[in-house]
Amino acid sequence: MSGPVAEVSSEVPGGVSGGGAGGGPRGAGAPRAVLHDVRYSRFTGALRPRRSAVAALVAAGVRRPLGLRRSAGSKVWPFLLLAAAYLPALAVVAVPLLVPQVDVQPTELIGYPQLLATNSVVVLAFVATAVPTVLTRDRRDRVLSLYFATALSRAEYVLGAALSAVSLLLLIVLGPALVLFVGSIATAGDPGGWFAEHVGDLPRILLASLVVVLPNAALGLAVASLTSRRIVAVGGYLAVVLVGPVLSRLVAVVVEADWPLAFDPAGGPVLLATAVVDGAPAPQGALAWVVWAALVVAGSAVLVGRYGRGGDA
Amino acid sequence: MVEVDRVSRWFGDTVALSDVSFTLGPGVTGLLGHNGAGKSTVLSLLAGSVRPSQGRVRVLGGDPHAEVGVHRALGVVPDGEGTWSHATAHAQVAFLARQRGVRDASAAASAVLDRVGLGAAAHRRVGGFSKGMRQRVRLAQALVHDPRVLLLDEPFNGLDPAQRRADVDLVASLGEEGRTVLVSSHVLAEVERMASRVLVVVNGRLVAEGEPAAIRDLLVDRPRTVHLDGPRVLELAGLLLAEGVVESVQRDTTGRGGVLVQAPRATALAEAVPALARRVGATLRRVEPVGEDLESTFAHLVRRARGAGR
């Protein structure tokens, strides 16, 4: 059985340095030897504020689905998706940069709305495969009772999970848009001027990204909180986002109106985001926004309900 | 009733059992060994779920792997789950009884459930049972067809102290009824109480078999330690040391007080103690040999098998 590395000094264990031992009755002067007690002891350092703990949780929640610090195999699928998300933007930026004869601004080749639209498939795939991991792994490992008893409050955990999911999705949605923006600065004839002219786009890009990210995060987490098996969460989410559009379109045809399209959980947010970017009103108007808000709120409610005090976790 | 003859078993590159031979007769035999040392392999071989790579296994004269008939008289409680949540305890046990050809399956099921202490809960769904109760259902399943040979792998997992004690008594009584019972357990104090014989497996080989006390007595190179306590016990210990009766004296630090003395020969120590205690005027409130239990014997067997190191 392993024991202490150094013998205990004559003092009570604690801290890193022990007191002097040698010396003896020699009187004044440095001791001839010192023993240091390195055994396990109580932690006497200062504790960081809670936001540091939540940050650690969020960091872990983002690393895991991306396969960081794990085997190469677990990185394949997530990085494939990331590549698919960034490729259009990178390509569109690279062409004018590398081929000076082409004098077209990247944003003219692909507008932000189109970027969002092409990325929506990647978003779907990412939410389906990566976001549930944020919750299902902990459930499957049965680590939650340990967390809630000795580490985190339920509120901190839910907050951390939500921030992880949102961060992951922003990586897919906001990232490429920023690449487009920054790339455009680089390729513009007058970078400074272009920036000054388009700086107002940034808040709209951010807002539009959030418009897409929030309902998807809410939906993905809500479905994941209902099960401990990732495959069920994935299936549930896909069911909603694949069947939803079809249903809403069906209803639209039957009713011969456009408003059912507002209930499309996959396409709806994208349309809203486009509207935000273009500064135009939403196609289905206020109804679309209501549905959007309902999705976010309902998803969050399920999440909180499952992990709250009365919930099942 | 059970014969294992020069059996070896490989799993790919690892050898789980190496040239093991023993026979089992009526009564309870304990099977001891570390995790991964080959115990579960022994049980699997006897249950017939695995075939030996070399050697022969015979249960009641038949090959458990090849002959189905053997299983009519064989009861097995394996490690791990084996119950269905939706059926009642009675239903599950009766079903298995019918499968094994028991005549009045329902009555047999009720009787055996009573015996394992589940009489009151017999008609409740197993899904609602605690871990310990489910364990007892599995025991009932193994007993319902009145088997002559029983194989029990960690049968007390999840049982509370009262249940454990009751089941230790149950297993002991099964042995007294003339059945051949092989029990594998890590809690050696309980094995000592149930089993009259033990088989000790270390690193895939059989290192000892027989009665625990007799095995212990065969280990002649064991140090014999005795716990002494009473007023003036320190003086007694000093005298024992001075007279060369004991080789070392140690204060007992586990909180009970007194001293632990080590002697090369136990009888010489026992003979010297009364006279020397009287000489010194030490009252003997406790004279207790330490390390005479199965757990110490087992630890010594492992050390001995290893030879050097650790």
Binding site: S2, V38, Y40, F43, R48, L152 | H34, E271, R285
Partner: protein, 318 residues
């Protein structure tokens, strides 16, 4: 530990019902010993009690204080000072022991450097060496149990709750775990509450046992039995015990002590006073007999605990 330290766990009138089952029924008890064993039948309320103490379940009524703090209201404070080693598998299998300890330390509020340092110390203390960098999924059961213990200790708690710490371990693993737990309370000053079904384990690591029955306290007593001068004593001597008993009886009669054979075939004397024991000793010396064994026949811990679990016998006290 001074006597002014608050009890490790203390509750009054604790009650909790799940559907129709009364898991806790007005439980009132204080855990004051350095290491306490928690025993009880399945369904007696042990796990519910632990879950309330850990803040995972709210009681219907009554109060529970951990280290002097209210378990429900001061939850955040309690979390910092308590460690928990669950019985069920609870470790992420793809992380190494090092990563698990660092991660949990950070979630508990330690900075990164502190977390790494503490993880290293605590993994060494439980005996995990090079294997600490491999994924937990590749560990043997013994190593996984040690990792669970390490994570319970990494933030330096004052109190550790262990649920069946030797579950599934083979005799060598059990021995090592029990020594670890004993060191925790003896040398490292950490208060320990162990819930276990194996009495032997509790006897070797705890100073006191608390037995629950039907959601209430059934018995609370120290593990070690003090010397009882009036209690019976069993003596095993060399040679024929009957001869020895026959010579002994008249010498003990004046002291009012009787001699009778024991079930194990030894010589039993009814009262082990020092005077009587000296008579035994002197007779053995005179006759040149070996004195093989002399032990008080106290009611063992097991009997007391089983009686309490089944509702017989003493209510409290030792």
């Amino acid at each position: 530990m001074t006597t002014t330290d608050p009890p490790a766990i203390e509750c009054t009138g604790l009650s909790r019902t799940f559907g129709e089952v009364r898991a806790l029924d007005g439980l009132t008890v204080a855990f004051t010993a350095p290491a306490t064993g928690l025993l009880g039948a399945n369904g007696a309320g042990k796990s519910t009690f632990m879950r309330v103490a850990l803040g995972l379940v709210r009681p219907d009524s009554g109060t529970l204080r951990v280290l002097g703090m209210d378990a429900a209201r001061e939850r955040d404070e309690v979390r910092r000072r308590v460690g928990f080693m669950p019985e069920h598998p609870c470790l992420p299998l793809d992380m190494s022991a090092q990563e698990v300890c660092v991660h949990l330390a950070r979630l508990r509020g330690l900075g990164h450097r502190d977390a790494v340092r503490r993880a290293s110390e605590v993994l060494f203390a439980v005996g995990l060496e090079e294997e600490r960098r491999r994924p937990v999924g590749t560990y043997s059961l013994g190593m996984q149990q040690r990792t669970k213990l390490a994570q319970a200790l990494v933030h330096g708690p004052e109190l550790v709750l262990l649920d069946e710490p030797t579950s599934g371990l083979d005799p060598a693993g059990r021995e090592e775990m029990l020594q670890l737990v004993r060191r925790l309370s003896r040398d490292l000053g950490v208060r320990v509450v162990t819930s276990s079904h194996v009495l032997d384990d509790v006897e070797r690591t705890c100073d006191e046992v608390v037995v629950l029955r039907a959601g209430a306290l059934a018995a609370q007593r120290p593990v070690a039995v003090g010397h009882d001068p009036g209690g019976a004593v069993h003596v095993r001597v060399g040679g024929d015990p009957a001869e020895f008993a026959a010579a002994l009886a008249p010498r003990l009669a004046p002291l009012g002590v009787r001699v009778a054979p024991t079930p194990a075939g030894d010589v039993g004397i009814s009262a082990g006073t020092d005077a009587a024991l000296d008579v035994v000793r002197d007779l053995a010396a005179e006759q040149g007999r070996a004195l093989v064994r002399l032990v008080a026949d106290g009611r063992g811990l097991e009997d007391v605990v089983l009686d309490a679990m089944e509702g017989r016998g003493e209510r409290t006290g030792g």
